[in-house]
Structure formats: structure tokens, C-alpha cells
């Protein structure tokens, strides 16, 4: 009984850890897509951010410098996407795909050129070059209390700062979108940019601000992967998380709170896959590890195949704004 409970706590604990990069990327996409700029390049921005974060953290020996580097690089790629798709009204999908390719290729080349470890960055240690876990007050002392103790000390306590940032970003995003002027305009520009334009607001500047928000969050996601969850950059370490985040965004119908639940669901499946890979069902057969690992992706396909009902994207999404009269 107690063992089962502890297993559940452990799975939920790793669910939280695994859903953080998805959540940050999903919120990143939310800002961009709510403003009418589709962003298939979440994956690339996250990967570039992860690389820049790990590289800077190992060179300067500071996780915080790594975080800043991750965010700056990710914003830079966001601006490239903005320049192509907002200023020059290019195809947003093509631009996003290009960013994914640039990130996948350049992180390996630069990693090999700078560190000569086969595309990896040097391992980050306990010298402050990696985000340490934070133990909430009294976490150790109340661990012995049944049920509540482990929930507090294992599930809520003992994560890196970026985990708390990610979950704090959910209500913050909701507040920004639905309670501030910027949010009102951002949602409006994704629905009907002409209405924003005729109200005397710059569509271009508004969309640029949205993709910058997207860049910041993707940078956070990348830094979490390489500087907090892992200790260094490994090539292709995002492994499709940017795309799963996009799926979660559609599943969440572009709403922040839903996005959190969607990402937790995907994270949970990931945690299950890790915990139960290769588990034997007594007397029957062994569930292949590959099947468990494929679960999140299978869920993505099922959800996107219309299982979720009608998800209505922002009306002006994907279309460059051309002032016409």
C-alpha cells in the first residue's frame, strides 16, 4: 500500500519535471499564435536556447548567465521568424521549419567547434553552473507525516527554480491575456488585425512583441532542459518536445490554464513510459519499452485527429496582414 503510494508520488514528481519544458514551449506558442503568428519553430528555438544556455553556463560557470544566453538566442530566432513572417509577410510555416533546421544543424556544428566533445557541451556541475533544486522550508522535517508529508517534500519541494517559474507563468499568462491592455490587443490582432489597425494600433509592433514573448519562454524551456533537468547539452535533446507543445496548444484550445493540464497529461505519459518501460504483465507478455515511449506521440495523433472536438484557432492565424483598401 505504502509502496504503491510512493510509486504514485514518484510518477507525479517526474510528471511535473517532464511537463515543464512542454509547458514553457506551449505558453510560448500561445503568445505567438494568439497574435496570429503560427510558430512551428518552437522546437528549434528551444534547442538553440538549450545549447546557448549550456554553453554559456559552462564557459562562465553560472547557470544564470546560461539562462540569459538561452533567452537572448531564442529571442534572436524569434525575431528572424518575425522579420520573415511579419515584416516581409512570408509563409509562417516555411519560416518556422527553416528555424528548426538552422537550430538542429548549427548547435551540433558550433558545439563540436567550441568544445570538441561530439556536439555535447561540457558537463555542468555543482559549482553553480547548473540550477540546483530548491528545498521548500520544513521539507525534510515533515517528510515523515503520512500522505501529506511526501506530497509536500517530494512533489512540491525539491525542484529547480525554473519549474516554479513555469507554473507561475500559467496564471501570469492568463492575467496578461485577459486583464491587460496588451493582452486585449494581442488577442484582437490574432482575430482581426484590420480592427486593430483601424483602431490606430500598429499591427506589426504588436505582433513583434508577441513573438518576443514567445522567444523568452522558449529560451526558458531550452535552459531548463540543458541547465536544470540535465547537466549539459546533448544534440537533438528537445526530441520533438516543441511539436508536442504545439499539439498541447491545440488540445488546450489556445487557453493558458488548459495548456497546463494538457502539458501535465503529456508529461504524465512520459513519466509512465519511463517508469514502466519493459514491464511484464505476469503470465502474459512483456509490453515493449518502445510502445511505452511512443505513448505521448500516439496520444498526440489521436488528439489531433479530432478527438478533442472542434478547436478553433485564432482567425487570422497564419495569415500575414496586408493593409488593403
Amino acid at each position: 500500500m505504502i509502496e504503491a503510494f510512493n510509486t504514485i508520488i514518484l510518477i507525479l514528481d517526474s510528471t511535473v519535471r517532464l511537463s515543464v519544458p512542454l509547458l514553457l514551449a506551449c505558453l510560448a506558442g500561445l503568445y505567438s499564435e494568439r497574435a496570429g503568428v503560427f510558430d512551428i519553430g518552437l522546437e528549434g528555438k528551444m534547442l538553440a536556447g538549450a545549447f546557448a544556455g549550456a554553453a554559456a553556463a559552462s564557459v562562465y560557470g553560472s547557470a544564470w548567465i546560461g539562462l540569459v544566453a538561452a533567452i537572448l538566442v531564442s529571442i534572436a530566432l524569434s525575431l528572424v521568424h518575425g522579420f520573415a513572417s511579419i515584416t516581409h509577410r512570408g509563409n509562417q510555416i516555411v519560416s518556422g521549419v527553416a528555424i528548426n533546421f538552422i537550430a538542429a544543424g548549427s548547435t551540433i556544428i558550433l558545439g563540436q567547434a567550441w568544445f570538441r566533445q561530439g556536439g555535447r557541451t561540457p558537463p555542468l556541475g555543482s559549482d553553480g553552473s547548473r540550477f540546483e533544486t530548491i528545498n521548500l522550508p520544513f521539507a525534510d522535517s515533515i517528510n515523515g507525516i503520512p500522505v501529506l508529508g511526501p506530497i509536500y517534500s517530494e512533489l512540491l519541494s525539491g525542484h529547480s527554480i525554473l519549474v516554479y517559474v513555469a507554473f507561475a507563468a500559467v496564471p501570469l499568462t492568463w492575467w496578461v491575456l485577459f486583464r491587460t491592455r496588451f493582452g486585449l490587443r494581442l488577442r484582437a490582432v490574432g482575430e482581426n488585425p484590420a480592427a486593430v489597425d483601424t483602431a490606430g494600433i500598429s499591427v506589426v509592433w504588436l505582433r513583434y512583441r508577441a513573438v518576443i514573448c514567445c522567444g523568452i519562454l522558449c529560451g526558458l524551456a531550452g535552459a531548463y532542459l540543458s541547465v536544470a533537468q540535465n547537466a549539459g547539452f546533448v544534440k537533438d535533446m528537445t526530441a520533438g518536445k516543441g511539436f508536442i507543445a504545439l499539439a498541447a496548444l491545440i488540445f488546450a484550445k489556445w487557453k493558458p490554464i488548459n495548456a497546463m493540464y494538457a502539458c501535465l497529461l503529456f508529461g504524465f505519459l512520459d513519466a509512465i513510459a519511463i517508469r514502466f518501460s519493459g514491464i511484464k504483465i505476469p503470465g502474459l507478455f512483456e509490453i515493449p519499452a518502445q510502445f511505452m515511449q511512443a505513448l505521448p506521440y500516439i496520444l498526440t495523433v489521436i488528439l489531433l485527429a479530432g478527438f478533442i472536438g472542434k478547436a478553433i484557432p485564432p482567425k487570422a492565424g497564419g495569415q500575414p496582414y496586408v493593409k488593403e483598401r
Binding site: 485577459f178 486583464r179 491587460t180 491592455r181 496588451f182 493582452g183 486585449l184 490587443r185 488577442r187 484582437a188 482575430e191 482581426n192 484590420a194 480592427a195 486593430v196 489597425d197 483601424t198 483602431a199 490606430g200 494600433i201 482567425k315 493593409k323 483598401r325
Partner: protein, 512 residues
């Protein structure tokens, strides 16, 4: 306060080689309703866009309330007290009324203050102008007439003293339009200046104090409305005399050519758009279907012409059933003598990137007279197109020109020529004069009546009530997918308007 709210002097604006506005001089008095009328492409919208800061004039001066100003953006225009109600509403459809009203006019970074201020301001504006709107309603759930009111409120909330309305009645029922005109009168009494852009002469006569007529980028005349007439304005617009109401003799109905029986059509969203509709069209008569856009007319035509399968019901063409619930397809129906001029010529009637000659045989391209063996006979096709160009006065008379380069009226004539010249027994015409200028309207109307007189059965669908009334021999009104009434061409606009709003005789009696 200066005598004139708006003074424009020597405004010029070119787009490449096209002169959209040439040396425009215009003075609009404070507290009046000033109409600007002209055909499509006459430069009305360009001129108003310059006034609202969308475009900058190449040369010329703008004075607002007696002060010489530069308007470089919509922001400048709003600051000068100019508000605009666009033809296509500039509303965010999934926002509430309040959110739309404060968008761009928020007081601070946080919304809560702006929203409560807008709410109380809205109550005041509603009282003052009798513009009743629920502030918390979602835009897409409101009828278009109310959406337009939101646009007006948006402008008033920003402190507009000058209100420009661009083709405001295009989407309204006659009674909604009348309500709008009452609102405009009210605004005028409060001292606002109103500029009304339209191509509908009736509206100009109904509400304006003065009217300016535009033709080919210039203002050709400005008149006091009570000192001019519809005929004079039409002549000024087109540059020659036009017949506003086509002359036609009495119909000579023969046998039933097209019979629709209990037709129900479901659209792609799974909603029944046409509900149990029955109607007959006889040879030698024009049956008009009136109704506000979106009440099932489009789906009805699509089902009859085989574009969209019907859910249930029967359609008989020349007494022979056609399988509208299954196998009917447009090519087959065309061969059986059913010609179709689609409502939306860009979407369904033409391929704009094709040459005129190619479009003039589209859908009839497997007719042996256009073929030589398996190949198209280009020479025959072009000769045929040249004949049609001459007969239908299509300009420019060049069958090798890309169709996108023809004006709306000439594009429509290309479609009409193609469909009418095949000598069909039934002709279905959707919105024949949408986006077509006055001169071409006259021509198209004459052609449709000629088809009738040649013994064809014509089914006409139009949202233009004037058009239905002047062409149709019998009028069927559709509302919410159902036929709600049938009347003769002598029916008044008021009677039709009530039917179009879904008020049937029983309902009137019940209310009494």
C-alpha cells in the same frame, strides 16, 4: 466653430499609373449629412481612406473644423474627431461589445478601469442616441444591424464629431436600414457631421442634405439633395442617361420547367440551411428569391445545380427528376439545359488567372464545337469569345487578356455570356449585379428579361430588393431556410421587408 467640418482642396492620389483621385475639392458643412455617390472604382473609398489616414494624398490640403491639418495615420484621424464605419466591420468577432469598444482606446495598462468607464459611457451614449446594445454580448452572436451599431458606438466613444459610413446598408434588411437612417438623423440633431458613401440612389435621396457625385476619380457635381432627382444623379454618375427601372412586358408563363419539391439541404457544418422548400419556375417567367444574405438561398442554388448534395427532396428539370440527393453534378445538369450564373463570380464563376476566352467556355469545354480531336480548338474558342464580347459589349474587347484585369461588371458579363449563349431551358442567376456598376446593371437586367421573353425559366436570387422587384414576375421570400411568403412584383418594400425579417402574416395576426 467653422462653417465647414471638412474642407478638401486639390487632393490627388495615384496608385502607380492609376489616378484614383484627381484634384478633389469638397466642402462639407457642419451638422449635415453629406452623401458621396459614385460607381465602383470612382474613387469614393480612396478619398475617405485619405481622410481617415489609411492613405496619404500625393498633394492637396485637408482642413478639419477650419484648421489645416495633416492626417498621417488612423490615430491622427481619431484625434481630430473623425470616426469611420467600414463596409466590412472592423470588429473582433469573439470579443464582447465592450471589449471591441475599448480596443485601442484603453485608458491604462490594465483593463478593469477602462471596462467600467466604457460601461457607464455606453449607458450615456445609449440614452442620448437610442443605440441599444447589450455591452456583454459577443459580437458574432449579434445580428449585423446591431454589429453596425457597435461600430457607430465605437466611433462615438472615441469622441467622433465627424462620422464616415462606407456603404452602410449593404448587409442590412430594409427595416434595419431605416433604423440606421433614424440613428443618423439623431446624430445630426446632436450636431455631428455625417458622410455617407453609397452607390444606392434611394438612400441618398432619403437621408442626405447635400450630395457629391464622383466619377473616374473626380467630383463631377455637388447638389442640394432636395434640388436634384434620382435621374439626374444617375446620369451624373454614369456620364450618360440610364434607365433605372427596366421596362418589361407582362410575363407569358408556359409549362413548369423547374420544380423543387420539399428540398432540405444541410451545409458542411451539419446545419439544415434549406428546410423543406418547394417552388416552381415556369417557362417565360422570372421567379425572384428575396431574403437577407445567409438565409439558405446559396445552399438552395447549390443543391439545384448539383454543387452540393441535398439531404432530401426532389427536383424536376423539364419534368424529369434529377438526383439532387446523390449523383447530380453540374456538368451533367448543364448538358440537360440548366445554366447557372453563380453568386460569387470570383469563387465559382471564373478563374481569374485565365484568359477571357478560356473563361468564356469554362464548363462547356467538352462541347465538340470547341474541340478538334482530343485537343482544344483554340481558334474556334477565340472566335466564339470574340462573338460574345461583341454581343455583350465586354470591355476591353480583348479575348486574350487575363480575366482579373476586367472590371467587376465586365467579368459578370463574361459569365452571363457563357451561360446564356448555350440556349438553356432553365437559367439560375445568383446576385447578378453584385459589385457591378450602374451602366452594366442596366445591360444585365435587359439581358435577363430577354431570356425570359425567349421562353426560358429564370430563377433569380438577389439580396438587392430593388433588383428583385424590378425583374421578378413572382417573388418568393426566404427566411431561416424556409419559404415564408410569396407575392407579386407589386408588393411594397415594407411588405417584403417584414417577410425578410421572418415576420409572416400569421405572426402579425398573432401579435394583434
Amino acid at each position: 466653430m467653422a462653417e465647414y467640418a471638412i474642407e478638401l482642396a486639390g487632393i490627388n492620389k495615384s496608385f502607380g499609373p492609376v489616378k484614383a483621385n484627381r484634384d478633389i475639392n469638397l466642402q462639407i458643412k457642419q451638422g449635415t449629412i453629406h452623401g458621396i455617390i459614385g460607381e465602383n472604382g470612382a474613387g469614393k473609398s480612396t478619398l475617405m481612406s485619405i481622410l481617415y489616414g489609411f492613405y496619404q494624398a500625393d498633394s492637396g490640403e485637408i482642413s478639419i473644423d477650419g484648421k489645416n491639418t495633416k492626417i498621417n495615420s488612423s490615430n491622427d484621424a481619431i484625434a481630430l474627431g473623425i470616426g469611420m464605419v467600414h463596409q466590412h466591420f472592423m470588429l473582433v468577432e469573439n470579443f464582447t461589445v465592450l471589449e471591441n469598444i475599448i480596443l485601442g482606446a484603453e485608458d491604462s495598462q490594465l483593463l478593469s478601469g477602462s471596462i467600467s468607464k466604457a460601461r457607464s459611457e455606453l449607458v450615456r451614449l445609449e440614452k442620448e442616441y437610442e443605440l441599444n446594445v447589450d455591452p456583454d454580448a459577443i459580437i458574432e452572436e449579434l445580428p449585423v444591424g446591431i454589429q453596425q451599431r457597435v461600430e457607430i458606438l465605437k466611433a462615438l466613444y472615441r469622441g467622433a464629431e465627424i462620422l464616415i459610413l462606407d456603404e452602410p446598408t449593404g448587409v442590412l434588411t430594409p427595416s434595419e436600414a431605416d433604423h440606421l437612417f433614424r440613428i443618423l438623423e439623431q446624430l445630426k440633431e446632436q450636431g455631428k457631421t455625417i458622410v455617407l458613401i453609397t452607390h444606392k440612389l434611394r438612400e441618398i435621396m432619403a437621408v442626405t442634405d447635400e450630395v457629391s457625385v464622383m466619377r473616374q476619380g473626380t467630383i463631377v457635381a455637388t447638389r442640394k439633395t432636395d434640388k436634384t432627382s434620382v435621374e439626374e444623379l444617375a446620369e451624373l454618375m454614369v456620364g450618360r442617361r440610364v434607365l433605372l427601372r427596366v421596362e418589361k412586358g407582362d410575363p407569358n408563363p408556359g409549362e413548369i420547367k423547374l420544380a423543387v419539391q420539399n428540398l432540405t439541404v444541410r451545409d458542411s457544418r451539419g446545419i439544415d440551411m434549406v428546410k423543406n422548400v418547394s417552388l416552381d419556375v415556369r417557362a417565360g417567367e422570372i421567379v425572384g428569391i428575396a431574403g437577407v444574405a445567409g438565409n439558405g438561398q446559396s445552399q438552395l442554388i447549390e443543391a439545384i445545380t448539383g454543387i452540393r448534395p441535398a439531404k432530401e427532396g426532389r427536383v424536376l428539370l423539364d419534368g424529369e427528376p434529377i438526383d439532387v440527393t446523390g449523383q447530380a453534378d453540374p456538368a451533367m445538369l448543364r448538358k440537360r439545359g440548366l445554366a447557372h450564373v453563380p453568386e460569387d463570380r470570383h469563387h465559382m464563376g471564373l478563374v481569374l488567372a485565365f484568359e477571357e476566352a478560356e473563361n468564356s467556355i469554362l464548363g462547356y469545354h467538352d462541347d465538340p464545337s470547341y474541340l478538334s480531336g482530343p485537343m482544344l480548338n483554340i481558334e474556334a474558342i477565340r472566335n466564339d469569345a470574340r462573338d460574345k464580347i461583341e454581343k455583350y459589349d465586354i470591355r476591353p474587347a480583348n479575348c486574350r487578356l487575363k480575366t482579373a484585369n476586367f472590371s467587376g461588371g465586365n467579368q459578370q458579363k463574361i459569365v452571363l455570356a457563357r451561360e446564356m449563349e448555350t440556349d438553356p431551358s432553365v437559367l439560375i442567376v445568383g446576385q447578378p449585379t453584385r459589385g457591378v456598376d450602374v451602366g452594366a446593371i442596366e445591360f444585365i437586367h435587359k439581358r435577363i428579361i430577354e431570356m425570359r421573353d425567349a421562353g426560358k425559366a429564370v430563377l433569380l436570387v438577389s439580396v438587392e430588393l430593388d433588383e428583385i422587384r424590378s425583374l421578378a414576375d413572382r417573388i418568393i421570400v426566404m427566411f431561416d431556410g424556409k419559404v415564408v411568403g410569396e407575392c407579386g412584383p407589386e408588393a411594397t418594400e415594407g411588405e417584403l421587408g417584414l417577410l425578410m425579417a421572418g415576420v409572416t402574416n400569421d405572426k402579425i395576426e398573432a401579435a394583434e
